[in-house]
């Protein structure tokens, strides 16, 4: 994993991003005032529980949200605001410069097209490469991912195992050597051993290509393994962000601490209460109904954020 990002300007800068959905049940506050930077070759993990809005952030950046979404804020990528681009421009960036690895590999791959062709197709479309040549590149990439046998190129996704399909997915998203890769729960639904394999795979690819990775996951230990920095999301907000070791080693926000206590190695200590509704989120700090340290301040006022020197930040009155 790469560590040489500190000097560089961020490659992607998300500022004040908020996403709301208009639904028949009311306005869903899926993401609020989300801000983070991703530097070159860096891996940032967006960690949070199901429904906390972490996937929405990624979809918003790529303009992949449904029509009833209202998006505010900025996402600056090479001097462009991704959120304001026309469909034509953003679709040139999708896959070409920023690519996404989706959750379910067996569903995201076309079942009736050969694996090799699926990996090579972006080259033919975006780079106007000849079929033969593109297959050659695809084969090289697959073999770097450990699927080197010639026959594999002409097989179909259903003949592959889940892990192999995940590698194919990774290969399709890598083939155009994008600058940023967004991995949306790449290990969901895989059993533990396989999840570790896939994680290792992604790491290897990152090192190979020097791309930056935005890893979206609910698995905090996976995030700890492969990311440089971690942002913890709760109810649509980033509650804590900082270097991986610091956040996991000395968590500041009560939610981060409680989440780490839920881990098996700490004895499954549950967080009391349930995740709040995103239609009527709590006033003040969104974690206060479940927080053991809550004060009068937390319940009423908007929380503040404190930023240390090296990019560590936390949304809590305690600090």
């Amino acid at each position: 994993m790469s560590m040489c990002h500190d000097m560089n300007a961020p490659i992607l800068q998300v500022v004040g991003l908020s996403v709301r959905f208009e639904t028949p049940l009311g306005l869903v506050h899926a993401a609020e005032d989300v801000a983070f930077d991703i530097h070159e070759t860096e891996t940032l993990a967006l960690v949070g529980e199901t429904g906390c809005g972490k996937s929405v952030v990624a979809s918003a950046i790529m303009q992949l949200l449904p029509g009833n979404a209202v998006v505010d804020g900025k996402a600056l990528f090479s001097k462009m605001d991704l959120l304001k681009l026309e469909e034509k421009e953003i679709s040139r960036i999708r896959g070409n410069e920023i690519s996404i690895i989706f959750q379910n590999p067996s569903l995201s791959l076309n079942p009736i097209i050969e694996v090799g062709e699926q990996i090579a197709e972006p080259l033919q479309v975006h780079r106007k490469m000849a079929r033969r040549e593109s297959h050659h590149v695809a084969k090289g990439l697959l073999s770097r991912l450990g699927l080197g046998e010639r026959s594999l190129m002409s097989m179909y996704p259903f003949q592959f195992s889940g892990g192999m399909n995940q590698r194919v997915m990774i290969a399709t998203s890598m083939i155009l050597s994008p600058k940023i890769i967004i991995a949306d729960e790449p290990t969901k639904g895989l059993d533990r051993a396989l999840a570790r394999d896939v994680a290792a795979e992604i790491c290897k690819v990152m090192d190979l290509t020097g791309a930056s990775l935005l890893l979206i996951t609910h698995d905090i230990s996976l995030a700890g393994m492969i990311s440089d920095r971690i942002a913890v999301m709760y109810c649509g907000e980033i509650v804590e962000m900082g270097k991986c070791k610091e956040v996991l080693g000395e968590p500041l926000h009560p939610y981060t601490r409680a989440l780490l206590d839920c881990l098996p190695e700490r004895g499954f200590k549950p967080i009391p209460g349930a995740s709040p509704s995103m239609i009527h989120p709590p006033q003040g700090c969104k974690f206060h109904p479940r927080c053991p340290h809550k004060t009068q301040e937390c319940m009423q006022k908007q929380r503040i954020r404190k930023i240390d020197g090296d990019g560590r930040q936390v949304r809590c009155w305690q600090y």
Partner: protein
């Protein structure tokens, strides 16, 4: 809400845009179909109000459209517009009757075959295969020719023959749902088979049965028309098919009396169209929900 929201978030939006567009188009078509169909039903239900005359009343025969008789009169001097309006009754009753019967039989057989599987499945599907092999229209023609032709009989025969495809669809769907864990849950809680079939499985396949039902009505209406046209329908009842038959046999076509044969043909087309539009858009919606899931 959490589920909806999760689904929204995990769905690729390019798909969403497509879905919404499809949905809007489908919805407009379905609405059009519904409106058309409701009009026909209202016409059938209140024929005596809408029809200007009793269809059996005799006026001067072979009248061209004029102010008193908007669509003219036929060879017996019956007002064609009134015939047309009253004719909707027979067509609708035959269509509905046949489709209702076919759907009921098909659903029951499909549910039992799909849920119990094994021997019951093989027996029921064997019966289905036998019914599939019967050449249906010829059988109806033969039966209608030998028995006293009546539109009730036609509806009954069609209903008794046309359940096979519904049964197959329902069976495969029931087999699929049977494997989901909420059915296993119900079994482990000790619910009876009947409770599971009718309370857990059936509501989850209604959305497949409904379009099937509508399309069956449509094809039953067409068949009724073809049988009547062949002269095997009920001559004492006025149906659209019968009207075309009379127009054909009594010189309407040769003399170019388009107001005689064209309106019933149009009515059949429109009612079938309305049903098909509704049926297809229901089917489409079903496919979409599957895609989202």
């Amino acid at each position: 809400m959490a589920g909806d929201f999760k689904r929204m978030a995990s769905c690729k939006a390019t798909e969403w845009v497509k879905i919404r567009r499809l949905d809007m188009r489908g919805l407009r078509m379905a609405l059009f179909g519904l409106l058309l169909f409701l009009t026909i039903i209202v016409l059938a239900a209140f024929s005596d109000i809408f029809a200007p005359y009793d269809p059996w009343n005799r006026f001067e025969p072979f009248l061209a459209p004029c102010r008193e008789h908007i669509l003219g009169t036929n060879d017996l001097g019956n007002d064609i517009l009134s015939e047309l309006i009253y004719g909707s009754r027979v067509s609708l009753i035959v269509g509905f009757g046949a489709a209702l019967m076919a759907t009921l039989i098909g659903t029951l057989i499909g549910l039992f075959a799909g849920y119990f599987r094994g021997l019951i499945d093989e027996m029921l599907m064997g019966i289905t295969d036998v019914f599939l092999m019967i050449p249906q229209i010829p059988l109806i023609i033969i039966l209608a020719a030998f028995l006293r032709p009546s539109f009730w009989l036609v509806a009954l025969i069609m209903g008794a023959l046309w359940w096979t495809s519904t049964a197959r669809v329902v069976r495969s769907k029931a087999m699929q749902i049977r494997e989901t864990s909420f059915i296993e849950c119900s079994r482990s809680l000790g619910f009876s088979h009947m409770h599971i079939i009718f309370s857990d499985i059936l509501p989850n396949i209604l959305h497949v049965i409904m379009p099937k039902f509508l399309l069956t009505i449509a094809s039953a209406m067409i068949s009724e028309a073809s049988i009547s046209f062949l002269g095997l329908g009920d001559p004492t009842m006025k149906s659209w098919g019968m009207m075309i038959n009379f127009a054909f046999t009594r010189g309407g076509f040769i003399n170019g009396y388009w107001w005689w044969y064209l309106p019933p043909g149009l009515c059949i087309t429109l009612s079938v169209l309305s049903l098909v539009l509704m049926g297809f858009s229901l089917e489409e919606r079903e496919e979409e929900t599957m895609r989202i899931e």
